[in-house]
Subunit: 330 residues, 2 copies
């Protein structure tokens, strides 16, 4: 990553032959002073707003989680092939920095938060959704609807803080019927293999205390005006995408049809360890990515590089996310 | 861009056959209510912080400017070929939304602003640099150095407001010697063709009132501790890149070695109308992009999609910007 002397000097006069020869700085005497602003040491508030017709959508950077990359992560690819794709994308090859992006949707009449992140149930590098909302002047109590794509912890746990309190106290929680049926079944939870018991317990922690208040919806239903639930099952039994439509435009929030699209849009046959029905996940991934590419529909992922939204280009046997243009005006 | 019924329905049960059949919303009665937060109507503060060793760099979204795309924009390509590349990147083919990203560099001892944008001398969709700084808690008076890559208006005009006041009153303005020599020459300004007179006048407006205070630097010089000026001439006679280096890492701020890299990194031979020495511009563009690709050096453009920074992948006969990962931790 360093700018090697050989390259600078090798480039000849064009790059300035004296670049690294130690010319005294013009402001050399100022090196000991303090800058008027201290180093911040942390990321700035990270939100990105765009419009779908009259609906305002804001991507919120929930954060990242690092996990060591091992041969398990992609079930049906060689570790070296996974590492090659990461390297091509200038990403570390020993660690995956999985990114999380929640979505605030202001329909004009409702403030809807799609997926919640972790709140204080995750690690030190995530749980930023409430802070991002506050950076926009929005308090958690103003959220009208918490809309869940599925019940994996990184999407759901942020609905209830570690102390048991609801993070969005005035919000109606809305969840896919098929997801509810799978995870809230006590007999299935009791019979679950040891490795799955934590996942069931996590879901129950968040949803059981207010189970009667959770509104369940079916695929095909317009769950909030302008937001329609779409079957994206495979990743989990009730995994749901949301079509956010207004004024002839549509954003598809595709949740986890891929983990990082750098890997799984590029290689849609690859099976991430989190896909509960891997074969169906591949079908869903291909179907939705192909539709997005063909129809030039903007999509938002949960696990792409922030702001995690853009358009899908066909590339080789797979697809590539082309980030949406960032603008000052909506 | 719309999610056509035929595609949804054509996809079969997977996408939900009832998607667009008009199921009543679960919250249908709430359509008339106002969301607790009004529609914002504008972009959220847009800054992106990253580290180069111990140096903190923050990309600031100065804004965009729309201009109609005509056959003049790329001097040596067919309009239809330019439009094809834009379409491949899901961008409008009749309008160019040229993006501007200024850089705040905190070396620990100095707050340096690289290029200034327009301040109030541009249009309604740009001039956001001061607002971005304020969103980070930084006042213009805290900037120690304004470092200019070259004297085109979108880089320079923001140093002095329309009312004649310096925008960064406590900053030392630093400028490339070769740029100064070209633009500040009164004889050359007087002899300039009509189409260039405005550019000269713009430079003089900003720099003449405090001409004696402007610090001029040469290529190869370390202008501020950790920031070295690099010859990137061609776009203008003194066009300068900056190598920001600390702890064995380097960011190259490459200013206008390309206009939008979607067009000109992909097609480095293409000559944008703003390149004053087109042939030398092509050489500079290729040399720096090739170095960045070979050495995997992070670069920041002025005219890429915000945050306008990342790594350079070779692609066909050209290059592609791979955006840097967005993180919560630095």
């Amino acid at each position: 990553m360093s700018l090697h002397r050989r390259h600078i000097l090798g480039a000849g006069a064009g790059l300035g032959a004296t670049l690294l020869t130690g010319t005294a700085p013009l402001l050399g005497s100022l090196g000991a002073a303090q800058a008027a602003a201290p180093l911040a040491g942390t990321q700035a508030p990270s939100t990105f707003r765009f419009k779908i017709g009259a609906i305002e959508v804001t991507a919120l950077h929930e954060g990242v989680a690092a996990r060591p990359l091992d041969a398990n992560f992609v079930r049906n690819a060689e570790l070296k092939d996974v590492q090659a794709v990461l390297a091509e994308n200038f990403l570390p090859t020993d660690t995956l920095n999985i990114s999380f992006t929640t979505l605030l949707v202001n329909t004009g009449s409702k403030l809807v938060l799609i997926d919640t992140g972790f709140n204080d149930n995750g690690g030190p590098t995530n749980g930023r959704t409430v802070a991002q909302l506050k950076s926009l002047g929005i308090e958690p109590g103003q959220i009208d609807v918490v809309l869940l794509s599925h019940f994996h912890g990184d999407h759901l746990q942020g609905a209830r803080a570690k102390d048991g309190k609801l993070v969005y106290p005035n919000a109606e929680i809305m969840a896919p019927e098929n997801e509810w049926g799978f995870w809230m079944d006590d007999a299935r939870a009791a019979a679950a293999p040891e490795a799955m018991k934590g996942a069931f317990a996590g879901v129950h922690r968040v949803l059981k205390p207010n189970a009667n208040d959770v509104k369940r919806f079916k695929w095909g239903q317009e769950v909030v005006t302008g937001i329609t639930a779409v079957d994206a099952s495979g990743h989990t039994p009730g995994h749901t995408a949301f079509a956010i439509s207004n004024g002839g435009k549509t954003l598809m929030y595709v949740a986890d049809i891929t983990n990082n699209p750098v890997l799984f849009a590029r290689n849609p046959e690859w099976r991430v360890m989190f896909d509960m029905d891997p074969e169906k996940s591949v079908q869903t991934r291909k179907r939705i990515l192909d539709m997005a590419a063909t129809d030039k529909i903007q999509i938002s992922f949960y696990h792409a590089n922030f702001p995690s939204t853009g358009f899908i280009a066909k590339e080789g046997a797979g697809y590539r996310l082309v980030p949406a243009p960032w603008s000052t005006v909506l």
